[in-house]
């Protein structure tokens, strides 16, 4: 444990002393300086060329994959955030693929292929948090980590391999169209974190967003454990830290870095919620089906902390509670559906959920009334005949 703490503090100290040397606004540019960026790097060694060929082959498969989300608006949004984070020059060398995989991850291959999982888009609350992760991935690319460390790859996926929370959902690796995503060692992760932080600090986004993401990932991990085992793990304090100085270390040095710079940025108009509007219900549904009540509840609450309890969040919460289905859950579920309905823009399915929750809670008459409303509003619903049997019983 001591070793890890020492390494962590050293990292923070190096950064802080760098910051101390340049206190002026002009100095900000200096200490957050980026390496000179060379466009269109081409592989030189035989090993490198081999890695690139594989990356090209992976990308060809990715292009055909049914799991890739092709919605131009969502793709344009994610690209826009990357470009605003790393700058237009750097951004040009990246091709982004959004995969519908309900786990927190992103990765980048040496040929410029960036993969973003829908579970990442679900978990970030604003452009800055998304930019923090995309910047981290771009950092690996710019520093050519995957090329240098390619012999170690095939053993995990970038954020996922390093972030212990994702070990819980490691099976999700299996969702991905391509199996080999590049794994980096801890030193490279830190380098990617810090160059990612510098992109963010130089961008229009607040540098604190990077630490925010990792704080929330830790919170989610604890919530998952609490939901599954009925007790908190507290694994991010004390003993756990010794063997897994992962998210906590990350959040700590990124937080220290963001406190070390004086940011006076004007607040940008954040388009994250608008860009996600069409996809949020779909990504929430994918999450809720993973049988992770605690983690899903945490994600919902975290999103609500940013946007308030919007209709899609209330509806998803109703579904989450109804599917777990303890008697008290059914009462809560009915309340969430009713709140969603009360807001006036709920999907018709909110009446379905309400009716089924009430029915399961032995409130037959109210349940049947809600189901009847669902059938009246959506007579051609795919499950209309089945629901009708519950109304008439």
């Amino acid at each position: 444990m001591r070793t890890h703490v020492a390494a962590l503090l050293l990292g923070a100290t190096v950064f802080a002393s760098g910051a101390a040397g340049m206190a002026t606004g002009a100095g900000d540019t200096g200490r957050l300086a980026l390496p000179t960026y060379s466009q269109a790097y081409t592989p030189t060694t035989v090993d490198e060329r081999g890695v690139w060929m594989e990356a090209d082959e992976d990308e060809r498969r990715l292009r055909e994959s049914p799991s890739v989300i092709r919605d131009p608006a969502l793709n344009a949004y994610v690209r826009g955030v990357l470009c605003r984070t790393v700058g237009d020059d750097r951004c040009r060398s990246v091709r982004i693929y959004i995969e519908r995989v309900p786990a927190f991850n992103a990765s980048m291959a040496p040929n410029g292929t960036m993969i973003v999982w829908s579970g990442l888009l679900l978990r970030v609350r604003n452009e800055a948090e998304l930019g923090a992760i995309l910047g981290h991935e771009f950092g690996h690319f710019e520093l050519r980590h995957s090329v240098l460390g390619f012999r170690n790859r095939r053993s995990g996926t970038d954020l996922m391999a390093w972030a212990s929370i994702l070990i819980r959902n490691s099976g999700d690796i299996q969702y991905a169209a391509i199996g080999q995503i590049y794994a980096f060692d801890r030193a490279q992760e830190r380098e990617a974190d810090m160059i990612g932080f510098r992109y963010l600090a130089r961008s229009c986004y607040p540098g604190s967003a990077a630490a925010d993401v990792w704080d929330h990932i830790m919170g989610e991990s604890d919530a998952t454990a609490l939901g599954r085992r009925g007790r908190a793990q507290h694994k991010y304090v004390a003993g756990f830290f010794a063997s897994h100085p992962t998210e906590l270390a990350r959040a700590t040095y990124l937080r220290a870095a963001s406190l070390g710079i004086a940011e006076a940025k004007s607040v940008v108009v954040d388009t994250h919620q608008a860009a996600m509007a069409a996809w949020l219900p779909i990504f929430l549904n994918d999450q809720i089906k993973l049988n992770d009540f605690g983690g899903s509840e945490y994600i919902l609450a975290n999103l609500a902390a940013g946007s308030g309890w919007t209709t899609p969040l209330l509806y998803a919460r109703g579904e989450l509670y109804r599917e777990r289905g303890n008697p008290r859950d059914l009462v809560s579920a009915a309340q969430f559906y009713q709140e969603a309905i009360g807001r006036g823009d709920a999907p018709v399915e909110a009446y379905r959920g309400l009716g089924l929750a009430l029915l399961r809670n032995q409130q037959a008459a109210e349940g049947q009334a809600a189901l009847a409303t669902y059938l009246r509003l959506k007579p051609a619903a795919p499950d209309a005949a089945l629901i009708a049997t519950l109304v008439s019983q």
Binding site: E64, S65, P66, S67, R100, V101, P102, S155, G156, I167, R168, N169, S170, G171, D172, I173, Q174, Y175, A176, A177, G179, R228, D286, K289, L290, N291, E323, G325, L356, L359, R360, P382, D383, A385, L386, I387, A388, T389, L390, Q393
Partner: protein, 198 residues
């Protein structure tokens, strides 16, 4: 239902249910009523099936024509409340959803979908059609679905019929690749499903 079981973190696969040539398979002759899934559930097949030696779980069994990856008929014979539909794949990190005694018939497709999403990494599971259909004289559900397994572009189709009877889940599923194999044995599946008695 056929799962490629994973070990720990890695994607190393252990094939729990493999080809029909595997030891322990038995032939189920047509025309005779047989008890299935170590339960009171009985059916009469219209053609010969291979019963796989490996079971997806305690109260279940699988039949196939050409191998369980090509056509798979699985019986779940009264899964009790608190138990998963089939054997846990990674209980600690990715526990399966459990059967509930208060399940409605609308919850049956959801349980199958969520179990597959967790166990198979089936990111694109989709229920296509749902309709009421009596199951062994009880109020039941019939539904069709499509999905693909992890790292597979092959689209699979499925059809299932089930009911919750006295707090236990009874379900029969049929799955095959959408192209060719699904249609090939679908009629034989339906003959089995329609003969079900408890």
């Amino acid at each position: 239902m056929s799962i490629t079981y994973r070990t720990g973190l890695s994607a190393l696969a252990v094939f729990a249910l493999a080809a029909p040539a595997m030891a322990g398979n038995t032939l189920i002759p047509p025309g005779l009523r047989v008890a299935v899934a170590k339960s009171a559930m009985t059916v009469v097949p219209s053609i010969e099936w291979n019963k796989l030696g490996a079971r997806p779980g305690r109260n279940s069994e699988s039949w196939t024509q050409d191998g369980d990856d090509l056509n798979d008929l699985t019986f779940y014979g009264g899964i009790e409340a608190g138990r998963p539909l089939f054997r846990e794949v990674d209980k600690k990190n990715q526990p399966l959803p459990k059967v509930s005694a208060t399940m409605l018939i609308t919850d049956i497709p959801v349980l199958l979908e969520n179990s597959y999403r967790v166990a198979l990494g089936a990111a694109s599971f989709k229920v296509d059609l749902v309709e009421p259909l009596p199951f062994a004289g009880n109020k039941g559900v019939r539904f069709t679905y499509s999905f693909s397994k992890q790292n597979e572009t092959l689209q699979r189709r499925g059809e299932a019929r089930g009911a919750v009877i006295a707090g236990k889940l009874y379900l029969i599923t049929y799955e095959a690749p959408g192209l060719y194999y699904y249609d090939r044995s679908a009629a034989a599946f339906r003959a089995v499903a329609e003969s079900v008695r408890l």
